[in-house]
Symmetry: D2
Subunit: 287 residues, 4 copies
């Protein structure tokens, strides 16, 4: 699939009636494992990108260039339609335009720009998100849309409004955001299904739900207008736990052979890294 | 520790009497987990670098720039003295010089250049390694040494001679390599402890053993002149297996909560990604 | 223009009857100046890429990643259909495939792979080019064609045969190369127009002439089957000379004002760097 | 010279009594020409970095990663002690820390962080700079100093205060900035020598003057406490003008030979790109 086709596949999903949870991916191998399991949609969260490329917390110390490079590595490795959390777009509306340019070139299918004031402001109270004004945010969204070269690329307006300002103010915001022409709305901090439905009805746009109480089902989300429901970022945390077990075992003098049942086999690693494709290339072009 | 201090720490290890197995690392998080477990020495293998940055097999399709960038990301994240398998040095002796320049700048403590003809040659028989001549290899090693700016950086001469030409020819090779002034010899394909001892005695240099039969102990390796014994690359394979389990569970509709016991906790992720350091920075510089 | 449209424009030129000389460009500003003068076709030579990104001679010390990054910077800045001399494809046929993947992603319209043995071999006689065998070269060309994702991307087979083996052997080579399905043939070391015609007639493919005696005209080249005639790399040399004059003047204590007539005005720099576009973006999205 | 030695050389200059104008450089070749003329100090301005790496205006659309990469290319090519205008440090105080980390690694000798609010704010009046508060700026400077690993690296506090708030307010600012422990103060918008002297006397720190009326001499600046006086960015503008002349000539059908007297000779290009060094490396390591 070309990048455009990956985007069209994601658009088809958004135009449908199901609510899916994408694979939380972060590097070429995680993306390839996810694709091999059957996933067609992947998600690179800003927090996960910071953790895995810098071993840093989710505080916007990653640069746009680093994010784009990581996305490109992921897209080379697996044909996932990738949704990327592009935080605040890395600055003002001009930076948003570069962000769209670079992430589109890197191959993303959908990117979100959010209304949280980022990076955290000087003297901002601890643990309290602040939002930029809706006019400024709308300018950033219009800039994002203007910077898009492939019309199939999806732009999502992401809001932290529910947590910071409550439902009514959030509905006013998303109405403004929807008026810019964005393709979907991404809400975080959902506590009740009704919030999702209200956002959908206020905008007539499909919704990405950043997180929701575990009791809410995919079917309920779908009926409320959501097409994507994120479920957290367990994969990187599972990899970390596995790494810790292996390093602890070996550092303590444990035998490598003892690990056999807890690691991917050589055959699996070969399959994941395209061994057969490369052997065929060697046979065709190097002999 | 500065890069120079990391290199001096590794040199001190090589000057001692123990044989250690480094942590096989490949990205910032793996390096940080390894360091948190106690490791002071890390190893980035060429195969693992290709797997994790490109999802490609060990066929030299990674570029020097990509390798250097991945090393830099690893070195930023953890204070490991890093040994890097730099394959053939990415071309001829001039390319070896650039390789040393770039990897030194990225922060490696020891890098190896090998005598295998790489990338595989046109019409080379399947599965059969070939070696470059020892004069050519010596030129590459002399070039590597001349390109070094920090005298603490270690240069290892790596040979596939045991598998391809047998012990006698390998001893002739490593004597020539040692005469260039390299800091250690890296042998792969070891089948008997005596081979390690013979290489050590022929060169009076410490030895890195790329792999050895499981029955050979670290103490025996140390007595034979080895200071580093590699044990394979289980960590990335463990991460892959953990990823597959998580993706399979979630793709099949399993609940995220079921995964709790098999993933790192939020506290562990926070600790690994320097949460406390960043909170302190915020308190000092942003308030 | 999208990258595909830039490639189609170049294909239309090759399908025509004229022989053009592209602008020798090397960075975003040079490309933008060239485009502003009227050029639609640009050329990034391997030598010029090495000079400008590394201040290094034409000895293949630039990496594929560095070349691709420079191309991307050039392509972002100006809508030139760019022909790139990709040297030997950065290794064996597998590396050629990566080279095509990376340069296609960076936006090139045409890339050439050459049959010179590169980088220079151990013990190769000074100043004497050597060629790889034609079977090996054909494998590389077939690999390049197989790696292409956009069918509009042009692949050129470049040969140093005229200088190394003479016309007859070169004709045998280019016939083999043409049989792989490449889009054009790139010859260097042309001494007589008849050589161009012979290559064209042997292959029925359009020809890129790397250099030719000054007496040969574009019209003659066109009639002989050439569609591109390179004329050297004066632009970077002109920039160097201008830089030397300015630095010498200022280092010697000369007044900046004295330079006014020999530098681009502030208005020209503003126009070149898209000042008006950015002011319009600010007015639309930041107010 | 190592990066530390380059920094110590710059510190020695600042500790002396002269006021120098650095070479405005922007890529490997410009840096090498400048060094060949005799310059020991170079300057990479933010505006020039944006122009040359992106063909963009000075509006902070360049990323930190792109800036660091360009600096690294420059530093590889020439042993200049490089002063870099790092704009606002690419975000908040946490971003400043990454900025220092990345630019130190890239090899800069001195970097400045400025108090202008950047990138331009939403609804900011056209052409009117705004400043961040001095407490916020001081936090960024303390963060910069804390992030420095090589104590020889110089950190400059840059202020746009003279243009925005006038002299008295600027003196209050620079006193606060000096109290953080920065190594020098960088002022732009100087109109009178007395302003330089006042800044110097208020802080007891050496001053970098971003620009000044042409009538003010280096000797006067030195006596007033300045050690660096910028004179504009003619070199890139001279290169642009030379490029335009060459492209215009060739695009119009002019003969390449006509350009001979206005371009660097092949010998000069060979000398600039280290031809002799490489030939010696070939002779030593490849034969």
């Amino acid at each position: 699939l070309t990048p455009t086709e990956q985007r069209q596949r994601l658009r088809a999903h958004f135009a449908g009636t199901r609510c899916a949870s994408p694979a939380s991916v972060y590097d070429p191998l995680s993306a390839r494992v996810a694709a091999s399991v059957g996933y067609e949609i992947g998600m690179l969260a800003g927090s996960v990108a910071a953790h895995t490329t810098l071993a840093a917390p989710d505080l916007i110390v990653l640069t746009l260039t680093e994010l784009a490079a990581q996305i490109r590595r992921i897209q080379r490795a697996a044909e996932l339609s990738l949704i990327v959390d592009a935080d605040h777009g890395y600055g003002n509306a001009l930076n948003v335009m570069r962000c769209v340019e670079e992430l589109e070139h890197a191959g993303v299918s959908c990117l979100s720009i959010e209304d949280t004031a980022l990076p955290i402001r000087y003297a901002q109270p601890e643990g309290r998100d602040e939002l930029i004004g809706s006019a400024e945010m709308s300018g950033k969204l219009r800039a994002a849309l203007a910077a898009r070269r492939d019309p199939a690329l999806m732009i999502a307006a992401r809001t932290s409004g529910l947590k910071v300002e409550g439902l009514e103010a959030t509905l006013a915001r998303v109405r403004e955001y929807a008026a810019t022409g964005v393709d979907c709305v991404f809400v975080v901090g959902v506590e009740q299904l009704e919030q999702v439905r209200a956002v959908h009805e206020a905008t007539r746009l499909p919704v990405i739900v950043g997180s929701a109480p575990a009791a809410i089902t995919h079917a309920e989300c779908a009926a409320a207008g959501a097409r994507i429901l994120l479920q957290g970022h367990q994969p990187v945390a599972a990899a970390v736990r596995a790494l810790r077990e292996v390093y602890t075992h070996l550092y303590g003098g444990g035998a490598p052979a003892d690990l056999k049942s807890s690691i991917a086999s050589a055959q699996e690693m070969d399959a994941l890294t395209g061994g057969a494709d490369y052997r065929e290339r060697i046979a065709r072009f190097l002999r």
